[in-house]
């Protein structure tokens, strides 16, 4: 089930909320609100993956027990054994389901074999929840957190539906206290609800709309693409992936808030970055901090010789690339950013500070867009062909009527996407918070109407069964 769907919005989530708010937090030693959350989360997952739910149950059961064992034994060797057991099995499962076909095809290519592909469907959200459970066992090993005593509480943490299928990657330490005690208040409910509606708006009205432009342009035969159309397509893809992904995070954070949880922010206006380094501090923050804490720093981080530091950066970005999907373009995408980051860190940094701000923005936007170009095509020959069109090789001229048509059809959407890509909304909110009218009945009704109107339009798109893709099936 996805959040931006009729079953979720009108049945699953309301029914869940009613029950969640009715039951007591705890009585007779049972945390009833957690029970409701767990049952609905499992149903939520089973809706799309009735079989693979077993995999998630197994994975969590394993990590729960490995952590208990680590806690029982104090010798480093034994603790390390259980850590390795958990990590190896988790990565093994992730690797098997996600990468086996990719590896088989590489193998077939090198040795000219024809081993048949397994064609396994990727369990939804496996990359997200595997990283969550791994962060937990590693943290227990490092004694950063105490292991969870109750398996069902642990399962509740991993399977919590707001963040289960598309992040953010919530670490156990972020919510461990809230699993036992949390503020379920009106204020939280309201601010969470607002955040959720904002997410819906970003997903259904911005991401889906502009995503359709990208889908349209990407199906134009390559020899009919003009330079400008090709760039318009990549720009549309850049907006689609940002608004889609950050919308899921908004909805997750919003729903979490409505339940009394506080997840960390996952996006911070990445497209206002002035460098690639800054971009990765603002994009999918829960993933980059995961790799920083569990790969980069253990490898020595930056407090090592320059050559080792470069190696560490490249390893982390190679892994980041592969995490996004099992195909060569994701490998290339990771290395591309790894190399850019190395260049920025060791060469460009001292010059960049002297560049005018607009040059730094232009520089960052250009390399981010090229990054999305690599990300968008998992077929290398299509990728190179499309890239050629962007730079005028064999393209249908610089500018053609197709470009003009799509620009005028999508101009407003692009404008709206641009406005919400820069921190305009927080700025307005801040300005308004100093005005009296904001706190008046009039101000309240106005804001309420804006949200209801947004909801109405969102519902109309869902009812009309418009283009509404789920992009993270391969994460």
């Amino acid at each position: 089930m996805v959040f931006s769907s009729i079953p979720f919005l009108f049945f699953f989530f309301p029914l869940f909320l009613i029950l969640y708010y009715i039951v007591p937090f705890k009585s007779y030693h049972i945390k009833w609100k957690n029970v409701i959350l767990l049952v609905f989360s499992l149903f939520f997952y089973a809706w799309g993956e009735p079989i693979y739910i077993l995999l998630m149950l197994f994975s969590t059961f394993l990590d729960y027990n490995c952590s208990r064992m680590m806690n029982r034994y104090q010798e480093k060797k034994k603790r390390k054994f259980f850590l390795l057991l958990s990590v190896v099995i988790n990565l093994g499962l992730l690797g098997f389901f996600k990468y086996s076909d990719f590896l088989i095809s590489i193998f077939n290519n090198i040795f000219h074999l024809e081993i048949p592909l397994l064609n396994l469907g990727l369990p939804i959200g496996i990359s997200f929840y595997t990283f969550q459970t791994m962060s937990y066992t590693i943290d227990v090993y490092r004694r950063d957190v105490m292991p969870e005593r109750n398996y069902f509480t642990y399962l509740t943490y991993v399977s919590m539906f707001p963040q289960l299928i598309a992040g953010p990657i919530v670490r156990y330490q972020t919510v461990s206290e809230e699993l036992y005690k949390r503020d379920i208040t009106y204020a939280n409910f309201n601010s969470g609800l607002k955040r959720f509606i904002q997410g819906l708006f970003k997903k259904v009205l911005i991401a889906n709309n502009i995503g359709f432009l990208w889908t349209t342009i990407s199906t134009i035969p390559m020899n009919e693409l003009s330079v400008m159309t090709a760039w318009l397509g990549i720009l549309a893809f850049a907006f689609q992936i940002y608004f889609d992904f950050s919308a899921y995070s908004d909805m997750a954070i919003g729903m979490g808030r409505m339940l009394g949880f506080h997840y960390l922010e996952n996006f911070n206006y990445p497209y206002v970055s002035k460098s690639i380094t800054e971009f990765w501090r603002r994009w999918h923050i829960s993933l980059s901090t995961w790799f920083r804490d569990y790969v980069y720093i253990p490898l020595g981080g930056s407090r090592v010789k320059r050559i080792i530091n470069i190696r560490n950066i490249l390893i982390v970005w190679l892994l980041t690339g592969i995490w996004h999907g099992a195909a060569w373009n994701f490998v290339l995408w990771g290395l591309y950013f790894g190399i850019l980051l190395v260049i920025e860190k060791f060469v460009l940094k001292k010059y960049m500070e002297k560049w005018p701000t607009w040059v730094r923005h232009l520089y960052a936007c250009f390399f981010i867009l090229i990054g999305w170009l690599i990300f968008a095509f998992d077929d290398m020959s299509l990728l190179t062909s499309y890239a050629e069109k962007m730079f005028g090789i064999g393209s249908h001229g610089i500018l053609d009527s197709t470009f003009v048509f799509y620009l005028k059809n999508y101009f407003i959407i692009i404008l709206v996407a641009f406005i919400f890509s820069i921190p305009v909304y927080p700025w307005i909110k801040e300005k308004l918070s100093h005005k009296k009218v904001y706190y008046s009945a009039f101000g309240f009704v106005l804001i309420l109407l804006v949200y209801l109107l947004l909801l109405l339009v969102v519902i109309s798109y869902l009812v009309a069964d418009s283009y509404n893709p789920f992009l993270y099936f391969r994460f």
Binding site: F10, P14, I51, L193, N409, Y410, I412, S433, L456, L462
Partner: protein
């Protein structure tokens, strides 16, 4: 930030807003057929383990919920209005043209060479027959000047010429006839993807020219308006409720005594038109009762022994009322629904000497019923 007294209301109002729809959905009576969209709505999915495992169950539930959502038509129009407001000139592959014209897009054709192969093969087997191919360009070509500016389109004329140049039997190009006819009468409906009876009449003239038949002049017909309230398929796709509906005209010749046999339905009538559809949404079905695998039409005023077979899509339903004036018997086969060999049919009916294959440029490449001819 300090808490404000109204803030509490926000959650309550939004929750009630959502729950109202949930409640109306649960307690409302579900309709089976959407007149506006001209289709059966999704039924409640059948529960079984294999459906559950394959994800069909949950998919079916999602379709069911969307199809029966309260005020569905209202929401569809909200969506359309939003799209228009933000400057979209194409909704669900339909261009919003000038003069209240909705124009179906023409997708890049992909099956031209396959169609040529199948038709030439068919002709090779049946070459004693006078075979004609008529591919009808659609509104996007004839009403090109009504498209939004800069609209990217593929040329139907180029594709048609590419096919015609490889076809080994007679081909009829009606593009120019329709374009010039369009100056006088609308050749296409504004809100439907079909051509009008006027369009079909101009194409009929071209058919006659190519087959040395003397056509009936337009003055020889009694032209009647049968409805002025036709909201066709393109209207349904876009939900543009504010456009004025189309009129349907029919051309009635002096002599019109027919025996119309819907062979597989065991139904015989004496008219080419089915009145009942005029009260429904799907008014184009007024012509020859929508789609049938096989229809035979005997003109009781003609005794020349000539028989014609038409292999066709729904465009032909408008031109048949003209063609029946020259043949004792007209056989009509829609290969999308006729599951037997057409060659066998021709052998069983040796009086058929003329054959017309008629498709519009959109369906010929997309429905591919034509590929089952051979």
């Amino acid at each position: 930030m300090k808490n404000i007294k109204y803030e509490k209301l926000f959650g309550i109002v939004v929750s009630l807003f959502i729950l109202t729809f949930s409640a109306i959905f649960l307690f409302s009576r579900k309709i089976e057929f959407s007149e506006n969209e001209n289709r059966y709505l999704a039924r409640f999915p059948h529960f079984s383990f294999s459906n559950l495992q394959s994800g069909k169950l949950t998919e079916g539930l999602e379709d069911y919920l969307a199809d029966h959502f309260p005020f569905r038509d209202f929401f569809m129009s909200v969506k359309t209005k939003t799209e228009l407001t933000i400057g979209k000139e194409m909704i669900d592959d339909v261009y919003i043209g000038s003069d209240e014209y909705l124009i179906q897009n023409y997708q890049k054709p992909e099956n031209g060479h396959k169609i040529v192969d199948v038709l030439n093969q068919f002709y090779g087997d049946m070459n004693y027959i006078n075979m004609n191919l008529m591919l009808v360009p659609t509104s996007i070509t004839i009403n090109e000047e009504k498209l939004p500016s800069y609209a990217p389109t593929y040329s139907q004329v180029e594709e048609m010429n590419a096919i015609y140049s490889k076809i080994k039997f007679d081909t009829i190009d009606v593009t120019e006839a329709l374009k010039s006819g369009n100056q006088e009468y609308p050749m296409f409906y504004r809100l439907d993807h079909h051509w009008t009876s006027y369009g079909a009449y101009y194409a009929y003239l071209e058919f006659c020219k190519s087959n040395n038949i003397t056509p009936l002049a337009i003055t020889e017909f009694d032209i009647q308006e049968v409805t002025d309230n036709f909201n066709g398929t393109l209207y349904s796709k876009t939900n543009l409720y504010t456009l004025r509906p189309d009129k349907i005209h029919i051309f009635i010749p002096k002599n019109h005594h027919y025996e119309v046999n819907y062979v597989f339905s065991n139904r015989i009538t004496d008219t080419l038109y089915e009145e009942k559809y005029l009260d429904q949404k799907d008014k184009y079905s007024y012509f020859l009762d929508n789609n049938h695998p096989l229809i035979t039409i005997t003109n009781q005023d003609i005794h020349n022994g000539n028989e014609l077979l038409i292999i066709k899509d729904s465009y032909a339903n408008s031109i048949i009322p003209f063609l029946v004036n020259h043949y004792e018997k007209v056989h009509v086969i829609d290969p999308r629904f006729y599951k037997f060999s057409i060659e066998d049919y021709l052998r069983e009916n040796p009086n058929i000497r003329d054959l017309l294959i008629l498709y519009n440029m959109n369906t010929v490449d997309q429905d591919l019923g034509i590929l089952t001819i051979g």
